[in-house]
Amino acid sequence: MANLERKSKMSNWQFGMVITSGLLTARLLPTTSYVVSYAEQFAWFSSALAGLIFYLAAYLMIRLGEQFPRETIGEYIPRLFGNKFGSAVFLIFITVLLINIINCVTSLTKLTTIFLFDQTPYVVLVLMLLLAVVYCVMQEWGTILRVIQILVFALPLLYIFYSLIWLNFEPLNLLPLWPDNFIGILRGIVFHTAYYAGYESLLVLLPLARSGEVSFARTVGWGFLIITLIYVIGAVALVGGISAQTVASVPQPVVYAMKSIELPGTFIERLENYMIMFFVPVTYISMVISYFALVEGCRKYLKYNDHRTFIPVFLPLIFFVSIFIDTPQRYDAFRYFGMYVVLFFSFVVIPILLFLVWRKKGRKKNAKRNR
């Protein structure tokens, strides 16, 4: 059976693509108005800074993962820092992934319920999406990787549709050009968690990638650069199209902007429907990556043979939480909770872990030298 085995490793470019394709989801749509309410017409600047900062978080995670090649976070953290501390870190890690999945499900299905249907129950849409995600996660990584590589083509198509906002662009909406509200821009960065979260899965996916000539930091960096450019150009188009005041005051500003586009003489109408359709595969990718990272992480942590064992463990939890946060108040509360957990994990837990790992390695080196 030489050379006939199923391929389950990914190249470093594939790794970069997987990590960054998981960033853009429907989750960002309701958050846009929060970002613009703080950063106003300088939302694009806030997005650019956020891209840099969140890449820094991803970079630290890559550095941490590279200290332990072939191991996931659930394997090396308990070994280094003991079971209690290790379990706590791992618990935060799976919470981050669960929050990401739930945010994706709820944002996409809410969008679908509001703009595509008026009668189909929200619960049914959640269930259908979750079952489709589970079907993909049931496959081995090689298959999931191939699915992602196909569905990622929805991303440029989505952006082409989104770019039609430029038709309503008015430069006056972007004035003044010089930012005077730096605090607002910085506060806007915090809300970009919904734009950039999802890279945490690399702590599990890193051992599945083959290291090549190009470093992981560079491939993921290229991905972040592309996504940041998409966000920056998107923010300029959105604010230029419907003004910062409008963006800040409507709940779904992107959909609102799409609704206002008219293409006379063409067959295409209700462009927001097309956009939502393209958001389905784009969000699906992020959910699949996070769900796989979640169950694969648990498999490694608890030393099981098959990641599928853990799929039904989390499915009811995701489903019931998604239904529970159906009301706007609960949804907002959950979004804030999720945002702070993700920020805590990325900018507090990971740097501390990396520092401790480096210190431990430094001590070992010193001990060897002394001998």
Binding site: L4, R6, L125, Y135, Q139, R146, Q149, I150, R270, M277
Partner: protein
Amino acid sequence: MRRSTHSGFCKLSAKLQKQVQQIKNIGSAINEVIKGLHKVRSSDRQTFGFTKSIECNEQIVRSLLSRCDDIKYRNFQVGKAKALLVYLSGLTDTNKLEKTVIECLTSRLKSNESIDDINKIMNFLIITANVTVTTETKEAIANILKGNALLLIDGISDPLSIDIAKYEKRQVSKSENEDVARGPHDAFNETLVDNIALVRRRSRDPGLKIEIFEIGERTQTSVALLYVDDIIKPGLVDEIRNQLLSIRIDKVILSANIEEFLSNEVWNPFPQALTTERPDKVVAGLYEGRISIIVDTSPTALIVPVSFQDFMQSVDDYTQRPVVASLTRLTRYFAAFIAVFLPAIYVSIVSYHPGMLPSGLAFSIAELRGKTPFPSLLEAFLMEGLLEIFQEAIVRLPQKLAAAAGVVGALVIGTTVVEAALVNALLVVVIALTGLSSFSMPSYSFGMALRFFRVAALIAAAVFGLYGVGISFIVMVVFLCSLHTYGESYLGELFDITLFKDWKDGLVRFPAKFLTSRPKRLGTEDETRIGGED
């Protein structure tokens, strides 16, 4: 006096009957002993072994081929010895048998000359090309049933199997199902030897290897495995050879019998082997690093391993200009999408999202739909059902009647059903377009598989609208990526960023001088196609 004579006669006849019975018992006992002796002489795998006695050998052959009236026995003299030819009428060339065997043997040996050297007969007396000594009865019988003649000579225990088979067969003719505008027109027939010759005629490469196996416990059908030794992915030949040899089935009469055993996902509707009746397609496949399997009595060859994109390619792609071929190929992908999702998109837009249509069109559809009593899903199912029935009828009917059935179908679907207000006219257009798209697939079995997903997508669209269409598309992608043929993902390789080189002859077709390497996804030993330039 008379009475005493009569009683004496009775006693005598009773005695005689007793003795006859005893003789019969002794006879049967002797037969048992003979059988036992044959068993002792024969090898482990067979019941009988040949002896030096021609009568005994004849008895063996006759008993093994009893009640086979098409088996002919021809006795003649070879010098002093008796000889017997056993052959199958209809599968043996009797004229050739007469000239090259009987005439040679009877004329070249004098009537008082004796012969006991089998090699002399084989090398000097018989003038046919292929003569072999057959020591095992099983093999001898199998050779007779293949059309060979079996020559038994008294005093020689090893019979000769003479390859003199000749049978009625269809001549090599034009391809019926894969016709091309430009390019060769000859196609496989039902004879393995002819089919192999058609392939060999296109390649004088000593690296092209052909292994022939007998598969089918009873039919013993010849199955040829073709590959190019120094190109094929290491291990692939062994894998497929083992698969073929492990097939335990009584009969192999179609190449599809073999195809099902090669498939690792038996419930998957998509074909996992490419079938073709074109030898040029087989040769092209072999030089891409694939394996071809040709089954005797079947005019279609199998090509493995294959993936989604291979079913989107046609021989015509390589006879047209690359730009035109690329556009045609892209059109096929679009047609495949339409064949699966167009009815689903129609149902979802009409039922859930009429706002996506221009208002004029939305009003005219609403007007049309107002005349029909059924919901759009039921209408779509009705039309789908009618399409399937007509398709089946046209495929099964003779060609002349099929044309008539097509006209009736078009009239019934196109006019009557709409006039009867069972379905609306737009749906007829949608279903007709869907049908045409599935017919445009180069592989018939692939087009059939697409129908399977069409129904699933239709149901998802009826329940969840465009959201359902999106989810069903994703599920279909996951399903197709999860299928594996010999390590290759069925759909996944199409957009694999590590296989950029394969895109030159995947979604599109680059000019021949740019196709310098074989498909990377097939993992060939020799990736370079010599003669190109990078």
